[in-house]
């Protein structure tokens, strides 16, 4: 198998709210304050091949956005390693490090908060390429024009400010900003969720076009199953910080194996189902501050057994090579 462009091994990310001096004193005096740790991402391993679209699906609190930020280099992982083109990113220095930083870019969810309100579009897009010497100051204006055209924006608008554009256009500016540093890998964190529905298909098409034209690789994070089904080659399903199932898009959507995946697919509203009787799984999504022991899904799982409460299932290949993190799946042979 060819070397993956990005690989993460055993990555975890924890956020701890430390106690300050006052808190520590209170704790010593017996108050029930304690350090709270959110296990946002828990022992995740993934590899992504060049040119592939890996869909990452999950609900709130599953850690998909945090994982995306770790891959993009915005958060440092608490445990585990990340490899770009085979090299451990933590060991990189100087020009190599910068190349790795620029190669992985992120498209954010909120088209309003992700652009600096005080910068003109030409600066938003042109700042990083100029800073890193990708283009000289003289070449920059034409370069910015080219990038804008590539994402479907009129270059004559580049002296405007972000607030003068619609949501869909702002998202295109965000994409242009990422493309301007010639990345190889894009992390799209719910990049279309905040857009009007009639604009979403335009931006999805843009992603697909850019993938073909520029040979990009995507980590496509979304809660919208139908979009992921359409655009992704492989899909990973996350629940409370862990990957519970990973397979090709066709396999996951036609034959889900993990109980959570099955529930997610069954409960997503579909256009062809009328006056349906929704039969949802019970229970709330647990708080990542206090995840259930063993398999994190067991309180809501219709098939949970006593073991599920105690043992943490790892992502393992079961029947027909399908990877799931479910004890019941691991023991099945047919």
């Amino acid at each position: 198998m060819t070397e993956p462009i990005v690989e993460i091994r055993g990555v975890s990310k924890r956020f701890t709210k430390r106690l300050d001096v006052a808190g520590k004193i209170a704790q010593k005096l017996g108050a029930s304050v304690r350090e709270e740790t959110v296990h946002a991402v828990d022992n995740v391993s993934l590899n992504i091949q060049k040119g592939e679209v890996l869909g990452l699906v999950g609900e709130s609190g599953c850690g998909k956005s945090t994982l995306g930020r770790v891959v993009a280099g915005i958060h440092a992982a608490s445990d585990g390693q990340m490899f770009y083109k085979g090299k451990d990113v933590r060991g990189l220095r100087g020009a190599d490090r910068r190349a790795a930083t620029l190669a992985i870019q992120m498209i954010f969810q909120d088209p309003f908060a992700s652009l600096n309100p005080r910068m003109r579009v030409e600066d938003i897009i042109g700042e990083a390429p100029r800073m890193h010497g990708i283009v000289s100051a003289a070449e920059a204006p034409d370069y910015v024009d080219d990038v804008m055209r590539k994402v479907g924006l009129d270059p004559s608008l580049k002296r405007r400010y972000a607030h003068q554009f619609s949501g869909g256009q702002r998202q295109r500016i965000g994409i242009a900003r990422a493309l301007a540093v010639k990345p190889k890998f894009l992390v799209c964190d719910e990049a279309i969720a905040a857009l009007d529905v009639s604009i979403q298909s335009q931006v999805i098409n843009l992603f697909m076009d850019l993938r073909e034209e520029l040979g990009l690789t995507y980590l496509f994070i979304s809660h919208d199953l139908s979009v992921v089904e359409h655009i992704a080659d492989r899909v990973a399903i996350m629940y409370l910080g862990r990957i519970v199932e990973m397979a090709s898009a066709e396999e996951i959507f036609s034959d889900p194996r993990h109980p959570y995946t099955k529930a997610l697919l069954a409960e997503a509203p579909r256009l062809d189902q009328r006056r349906r009787q929704f039969e949802p799984i019970v229970g709330e999504i647990p708080s990542p501050l206090d995840p259930p022991p063993g398999c994190t899904f067991h309180p809501r799982c219709p098939a949970a057994t006593a073991d599920c409460r105690k043992i943490v299932p790892n992502l393992k290949a079961g029947r027909a090579g399908r990877e799931t993190a479910c004890l019941l799946e691991h023991v099945k042979t047919v």
């Binding site: 001096v21 005080r118 800073m131 590539k150 479907g152 405007r160 003068q164 554009f165």
Partner: protein, 307 residues
């Protein structure tokens, strides 16, 4: 291949020209008549104060021009030198109109200077606290908290007692009394901005930390700073007046508004109201107009980034 997507995004928002954030802000500010009038009044006051030497009949600091024979004359009386004292004169014979304008010069200078210096210093401290985090932030913010738990007038009094009289010492005292407000405001805003996605994007793009702080975060912190700045300036002006009123501010020979009010205090009960009331009214007008401007600024500068 991207033609279809290009066409759909080509038509831009209906604004025909580039609108800078400043132009938009300016248009919104002048929507409020009250704030516009208040700004006008404040600017007139500043103008009068600047032009004081040319538009007043008397220089009240020049002892040669002041004669006790003119003392305590009611408004509209004629002075020894022949000009009309429209606002009357104080106990020492100073024409109140002249004294108020000259006094405003001092009050405004002290207020604005201390405001600006406190802003710069507080902003630097607040930014450092927000960005450094950890122990440094805790240390700085506890000092800020400590400082803010004392009333500003008390801090100013203590500083003046320690430093002595004089314009520069007053300014220093007022800076020490005020910087903490700015520090706290900037730290809070900088923390909020730091969590925003455009800062994460800048990190992703490999932009240096210092550039992020000064080029990305700081410009977006200016809005609340400006609001605090206007209100604090008004507060500094009245603080200086308080100190002078209590006799620990500026010396008698360079009377600011506070000194004038103090001077007239003893005459209030004997019916010579004008000696305190007119300087008081001038101070009131100045402080209120700044506050009205600051109030409207707060509404206009509120983040309107949501759809």
């Amino acid at each position: 291949m991207t033609d279809a997507t290009t066409d759909s995004a080509m038509t831009a928002a209906p604004l025909a020209k580039v609108e800078t954030p400043f132009q938009r802000f300016r248009a919104e500010f002048f929507e409020s008549k009250i704030a516009t009038v208040a700004l006008g009044i404040f600017l007139i006051i500043v103008l009068l104060a600047i032009l004081a030497p040319w538009i007043t009949p008397q220089n009240p600091y020049d002892l040669a021009q002041v004669t006790i024979m003119d003392g305590r004359l009611p408004p509209g009386s004629e002075a020894f030198d022949g000009y009309t004292m429209w606002l009357g004169s104080d106990g020492a014979g100073r024409d109140l109109y002249s004294a108020i304008l000259y006094g405003l010069r001092i009050s405004l200078t002290v207020g604005l200077a201390s405001g600006v210096i406190a802003l710069l210093f507080g902003m630097a401290v607040g930014l450092i606290a927000a960005y450094a985090g950890g122990r440094i932030e805790v240390l700085i913010m506890r000092i800020v908290d400590l400082q803010l738990s004392f009333p500003a007038s008390l801090v100013a009094l203590m500083m003046v007692a320690a430093l002595g009289k004089g314009v520069d010492k007053i300014i220093l005292a007022l800076v020490i009394a005020q910087w903490a407000y700015y520090a706290r405001t900037v730290r809070a805003t900088a923390l909020v901005e730091r969590g925003k996605e455009y800062v994460e994007a800048a990190q992703c793009l490999g932009i240096s930390q210092s550039r992020i702080v000064f080029r990305h975060i700081l410009p977006n912190c200016m809005a609340p700073l400006i609001v605090v700045g206007t209100v604090q300036t008004a507060s500094a002006i009245s603080l200086e007046a308080t100190l002078s009123f209590l006799g620990v501010g500026l010396p008698q020979t360079e009377p600011s508004i506070g000194v004038l009010i103090a001077n007239g205090f003893e005459y209030l009960l004997s019916g010579r109201y004008w000696i305190s009331v007119f300087p008081g009214a001038a101070l009131l007008l100045t402080v209120v107009s700044i506050n009205l401007v600051g109030d409207h600024l707060r509404d206009v500068l509120n983040p309107r980034l949501k759809k």
